[in-house]
């Protein structure tokens, strides 16, 4: 069972590598959106520093949103979702494996790119640790919640907009705790409370999201 699970993660990583684009596209989008802000609001360091963490988080959130719609759709279209549903493995674990692969190809690269964008946005030196730690905890939540939206809209033609409408409100808590962790750290306060809140959301999402998404996928297969 755990071997099947790991095989599934490797399968999705192999497909992401072979089909290309997915991961690189999200990162490029992330970098482009953030780099628009110094152009848009002007290069004054104090202005940029004020909005740095928020901008980086919003851009990361949008990049994840962009990558969600193909999460299950490609598998539904070519019939491989049928084959995945017929593995001797609960569908919720199939979803979890695909979500992990999704995070490894979007959330993790976004987190690694964030410090560079922090430089561009004049992020306060004290805030880097908090930003990265919060993104490491927060981006898996984005993938997990996104999986529910992706599963709900998998059968909808051009469901990308609907997916965005469903998922964006659910991303708000992550955004709030993620940004305020970096801001607390920038002002020299402890940000452990934010980390605990993010950990709590992550623990809940790991349990609930795969089950919810699996239910939605079963409806799509029926």
């Amino acid at each position: 069972m755990s071997r099947t699970f790991l095989m599934l993660v490797r399968r999705d990583l192999l497909l992401a590598r072979r089909q290309g684009g997915g991961s690189l596209l999200s990162i490029t989008f992330f970098v482009l959106v953030v780099s628009l802000f110094p152009l848009g609001v002007g290069p004054a360091p104090e202005t940029l520093e004020r909005i740095a963490a928020g901008t980086i988080w919003v851009a990361a959130l949008l990049s994840v949103l962009l990558s969600l719609d193909r999460m299950f759709q490609a598998d539904l279209e070519d019939g491989s979702l049928d084959q995945l549903a017929l593995l001797p493995l609960p569908l919720s674990l199939v979803v979890l494996a695909k979500t992990i692969a999704h995070w490894l190809t979007t959330g993790l690269p976004l987190t690694l790119a964030a410090p560079l964008l922090g430089l561009l946005m004049q992020l306060s030196p004290d805030a880097y640790g908090a930003l990265i730690a919060a993104m490491l905890l927060g981006t898996p939540i984005l993938s997990l919640i996104g999986a529910i939206g992706a599963a709900l809209t998998v059968g909808v033609r051009r469901g990308g907009v609907l997916l965005t409408l469903i998922v964006t409100p659910l991303y708000i808590p992550v955004l709030i705790f993620g940004v305020s962790a970096a801001e607390a750290a920038a002002q020299g306060f402890s940000y452990s409370a934010h980390m605990l809140f993010l950990s709590a959301i992550l623990s809940g999402a790991i349990v609930i999201a795969p089950i919810a998404a699996a239910w939605a996928l079963k409806l799509a297969l029926d």
């Binding site: 099947t4 072979r18 070519d78 019939g79 491989s80 001797p88 493995l89």
Partner: protein
């Protein structure tokens, strides 16, 4: 329950939207058996196959495997089943061999030779070609080669002959025969004749008043079925 048939469907019924597609379908299948599903387009052949696989929940009726209801131990049933749907379920970015190996490994099998499986369908030379560059018939052959990649007693084939040429149809016939000689079972939905040893035929006929869409309170066939 030793003398009960290995696979048994009892009074199965399917509802799509608000329309009863079929009702009172029953069948039995034992080691070495072949069940051919026939019926006009839209009669519910694919739905019945997906229902046996567990992808579609039955509106009524039950499915028994080894004397116990399938829902009791779904994972044991799934481990013994391969479904070849009318979609190929292949990843076009991967080669034929990669697709087959992935399928086998996900099911915990690693000792089967993908090239040999492709050879049984006459396309061993396409083993390293990405599926993207293959024709519909070649894709179908790769998808059918999955049947040989992992041991499973029950094969569910939905329109397996689509896009196949006469050579491939004969090859599928001999693969199916070999599977049945080894004690395997096959359920195939098809209009054309599957070559090889004959099996039993189940014709799916719509319930008597299926035309009355709004009238779900069916009698006649349904009454007999229950």
């Amino acid at each position: 329950m030793a003398d009960a048939p290995l696979l048994q469907g009892r009074n199965l019924a399917a509802l799509r939207g608000e329309r009863l597609i079929f009702a009172g379908i029953g069948f039995e299948l034992d080691n070495g058996g072949l069940l051919k599903l026939t019926g006009r387009n839209g009669a519910g052949k694919s739905t019945l196959i997906r229902m046996i696989a567990g992808l579609v929940a039955p509106f009524a009726g039950s499915l028994h495997w080894n004397g116990a209801e399938v829902s009791r131990d779904r994972e044991a049933f799934l481990a013994d089943l391969i479904y070849a749907g009318h979609q190929d379920g292949l990843k076009t970015a991967l080669t034929a061999t990669e697709n087959l190996d992935l399928f086998a490994r996900l099911r915990g099998t690693s000792d089967r030779d993908a090239v040999a499986a492709l050879g049984s369908f006459g396309i061993a030379e396409l083993a390293d070609l990405p599926v993207r560059y293959m024709s519909a018939g070649q894709r179908r052959r790769v998808s059918l080669a999955r049947l040989l990649m992992t041991p499973a007693r029950l094969w569910l084939l939905d329109e397996p002959l689509t896009a196949l040429d006469t050579g491939a149809i004969a090859q599928l016939g001999s693969v199916v025969d070999a599977h049945r000689d080894g004690g395997g079972m096959v359920i195939a939905a098809t209009h054309a004749d599957l070559p090889g040893q004959p099996g039993s035929v189940l014709e799916i006929v719509p319930p008597a008043d299926a035309d009355l869409d709004e009238d779900l309170d069916v009698d006649g066939d349904m009454e007999d079925a229950w």
